[in-house]
Symmetry: D2
Subunit: 332 residues, 4 copies
């Protein structure tokens, strides 16, 4: 174990935190030296569901211990707690992989609107969509890992935008269907089984902070509408755009294939559209599409497991690249 | 409307309460003159999901108003609240149909153990399993409507026991599978979608108050194990007993058919075993069975909708019989 | 019974057919005098799940018997069978309410493309979206009842288009989420529980015949994408349009409220967006919306039960209006 | 790759077959050199859902190729096909791990009743419940891997029976709740989403071949009742037995703890009863229990993932022990 990387998880009892422990426990180059709750006053807890998989204690949150015992820490904390913990750990020399939304928005006004607790910092933040930030990771000290919605949308759209294949003026509409684990572990009326089962509901329509994040990375306005659908894990996004005049189906396919030729976790399914079932419990993002060349209407479908590629898996993928451990190690 | 029966619902915002409003709204002989919450300090509320079905206000709990404006009241209140409200309303001349467990146990020691808030009363209580108490209902002032578990178990077992077809000494094992709405509307870790979806869990093993209730009505010990299964409405019970030596398959069938020849809501499916899907959103209880005559092993399967025959529907069925309105009125 | 309307159901064993029997059985002004399968060579069948609800026989398809014993017939048959049966029954003086897609498209070229078996006819067809065709129904002999997708989309969009509130040039994008019963009763890999559970999948992207139907009734192109989500009954559509410059939120609300002021089955929920759970097992269509006036982006959400308002319920609603029985009779 | 074990999968397109490929692909000591369908006339197929996980071709069934290219073969074939293929491969020197029921029953009469295609053989068969057959595996040439139902039941009951803690005469009742993937990949009315969703149904009551298998291994009669519950993967069994007079809770706990002290995949949860959710996508079997010492009623609850510990995972666990690869290799 002496040769493995010592990592910590802060916020280890939520869904993403437990998924991190599960993945880290079987990662051959990593050792979890600290798993902590979300506050310093919490008692020590066990995680019976992880018995024989990861058998440690979850201890109260302690920045001193994290600084002393780890070289990298994953934060799966509430936004306001992450806003305080993240910069403090970076200042102590720990590399931070944050899974909250706290550090994702670069524009100060937007950030203050959606994440009022986030401090203004000089520390540069890497927006950690692994496939689009590999070069920046080795030097990163604070990585803001994007969540499930921006990850799927940007993996599908960014290469097409970068290649100039999208119509400049047209709408970008992202209709997302999400499993309930994305709403977090806290019991609410919204997450009650009887309210979700047999139902579908839109939420945050025309006012969702992940829309702002997608707009930042894409450089243009989007209409983003998430829906809760009655399943546990996984999201699927249906994306409606227009291509620029003259763009061909072959160009769309070639652009995406080039973009992800070396990406171990992006599968392009072409016109065999992807389904959530095929990506759950994996770090994969599947992307398919249909183009009606005459009307230039392009429909893309992207899906992934919100707890893996949309959270814990991508965080580990970032750590792998940041520390040179091999991008797919512990994830396949 | 002048010729209809004025009824009230106390506890109208829970799952059973809303189902009562839904059913009462289309009942041709009943008018809901009061729908109230569970406390006197609650504000007035609307139920948007019932718009165009039942459009009234849910007002704070007021026994004075219930006494003044109704002839009968359905209580879908927490046990301890029902324990106080029920006898009070009866004393004021209102007939009470209680859906809590408060008044179901006759043995004082058992009742104090499971329902410590229940007062000792002189008022006779009718155990309101309609098919087995029709004669007592017209004179009843306080009806303790059984819940889903005892209703299904007793509809299946009581006629066989009364006919002497069950082995005296053998075990009676009731393995129940219940939808999540049976756990109530309050959000808890137990009812979180992500905890229930894709899972099955036993609870209250060897220690469930509904077991005591079934034992009371059956006059013998039972092993009762409820499980939560990932669906919203409906329960199914698989019941394991031995028949007495010499009992034949024909006797079992005849006994059940005679018992329910005139019962509009009990369907006997014989060896085509019933399924929850066929009874949800109805007041039906389906019962099927298989007998291995050589070994005298009898497996009965009974199912019903916990919010209808296991709650609101049976309460209305009781009211119908109690007031001579026609047992099936408003329920088919 | 002599004073009730004698109706028949052809195709009574599928999901929509059984829902029709269920609804017709409790309709006070209707008697089902004939329930038939989809072919003349099928044997007589019972429907055990409908015992005590509707206890008749399902007999082989016979046009002679339908002509002799009914005044109106509901067709829930495969498209090609309905194409033959419908005109024949009309010629014999029976009024036909067809639930297939066969007769819905008016443009001959479109119709031949999507429904090659449909004959060219002189018989006028009423497109049976009840709320939009009430005047035409009393004289209709052949009513093509729209399915779930067009019903929800058109109830939301038609009044806004008629009032000139939509931007002329903008895209109309309809992203639909449908329960699996919409895929029909026939077992396929697509409808296998294990393929649907925990998954979401798009289908028919940029090539769905219901898109053609919506375009016909709306008079402009739409992008329509249906998805299968893991629930049984119900659909929800999220609709993305732009309003014309200057259109206000009040105008949108007023237009919809005026359009459905007298509609017993359309509930407008405003910015409290609707959910499938609140409409299943009812004939209701719930419609909500959000408008961002600055960007003129309007998102509408509409949902209904595909087997009721999207099939059997709307067919009965049409029959009610056609025969003057009271639009909501038997449906509330 | 030269140092890894060459294995084949026959029947690779079903649910268990695909799970085998998924597990074998990440097994460090195994290489899949042949993945075949269930018949020799099938065409070559790809498995898009396994892209980037296992990217080979599924070729037609060929015993010659299996004999030439593998040292061990997993059979996930229909019973009658396995009956023919298994002995043939053994005769050619290939070690066979069969996942069908074909070779599980030792009694010739029972076997002929439930598996008429199975030949009478001299070849000894190891009943491959790994935890109970470790010593026999290194020399085994034909391993009949038990399915999900017997695995869970026997892991819970065998140690207690061996220790003499069960009442000799009492009933053993096993009430099983199974996800739908256990019914296989073939679309049937039984596995249609709309038939399963929101429902629970018993099947094979008092007549299930897995009951016979449990009785064989337990040496006493059992009443076994499987139910389909609306989830995809996982089973949970609730087991009702009586302990012998004088047996204590400590004895029950000690016996189970000793039995599985070195078992990497059995977790004993004591009176914190297990849930399916915690074992899916793992090779674990969780076992909990409650004893009412006064009445000697013991309720055990055991659960596992039917496609892993109940199929593919246990088969690999058996292969690991048989070839000395380390019992847990590739499974954690």
């Amino acid at each position: 174990m002496s040769s493995t990387l010592a990592v910590g998880v802060a916020g280890a009892t939520g869904y993403a935190g437990q998924e991190l422990l599960r993945l880290a426990a079987r990662h051959p180059s990593v050792t979890v030296t600290a798993a902590m709750g979300s506050g310093s006053a919490e008692g020590v807890r066990r995680l019976p569901a992880l018995a024989r998989i990861w058998d440690g204690d979850v201890t109260p949150l302690s920045l001193d211990r994290l600084a002393a015992e780890t070289r990298a820490v994953f934060l799966t904390l509430p936004d306001a707690v992450a806003a305080e913990v993240g910069p403090d750990l970076v200042a102590r020399g720990v590399r931070v992989f944050d899974l909250s939304g706290t550090f994702r928005l670069r524009d100060a006004a937007e950030r203050r609107h959606w994440y009022p607790a986030t401090p203004d910092m000089d520390e540069p933040v890497v927006y950690g969509l692994t496939e689009h930030c590999r070069e920046a990771l080795p030097d990163a000290r604070l990585v803001a890992c994007p969540g499930c919605y921006p990850t799927a949308a940007l993996l599908a759209l960014r290469p097409l935008r970068d290649a100039g294949l999208l119509d400049d003026g047209g709408d970008v509409i992202i209709d997302a269907k999400s499993g309930i684990s994305g709403a977090g572990k806290k019991p609410t009326e919204r997450t009650h089984f009887s309210e979700c089962h047999g139902s579908v509901a839109a939420y945050g329509v025309l006012a969702h902070r992940h829309g702002a994040e997608i707009e930042q990375e894409l450089g243009r306005p989007v209409t983003f509408t998430p829906h809760l659908v009655p399943l546990d894990r996984g999201i699927l996004e249906t994306i409606y755009v227009r291509t620029r005049p003259g763009a061909s189906a072959a160009q769309v396919a070639d652009t995406l294939e080039q973009a992800y030729a070396d990406a171990p976790f992006v599968r392009l399914t072409g016109d065999a559209l992807p389904e959530i079932k095929h990506v759950t419990h994996t770090n994969l993002c599947d992307i398919g599409w249909k183009l009606d060349a005459a009307s230039r209407r392009l429909v893309l479908v992207a899906c992934l497991d919100n707890l893996v590629k949309g959270a814990a898996g991508q965080a580990i993928q970032n750590l792998n690249v940041a520390f040179g451990l091999g991008e797919a190690t512990g994830l396949s």
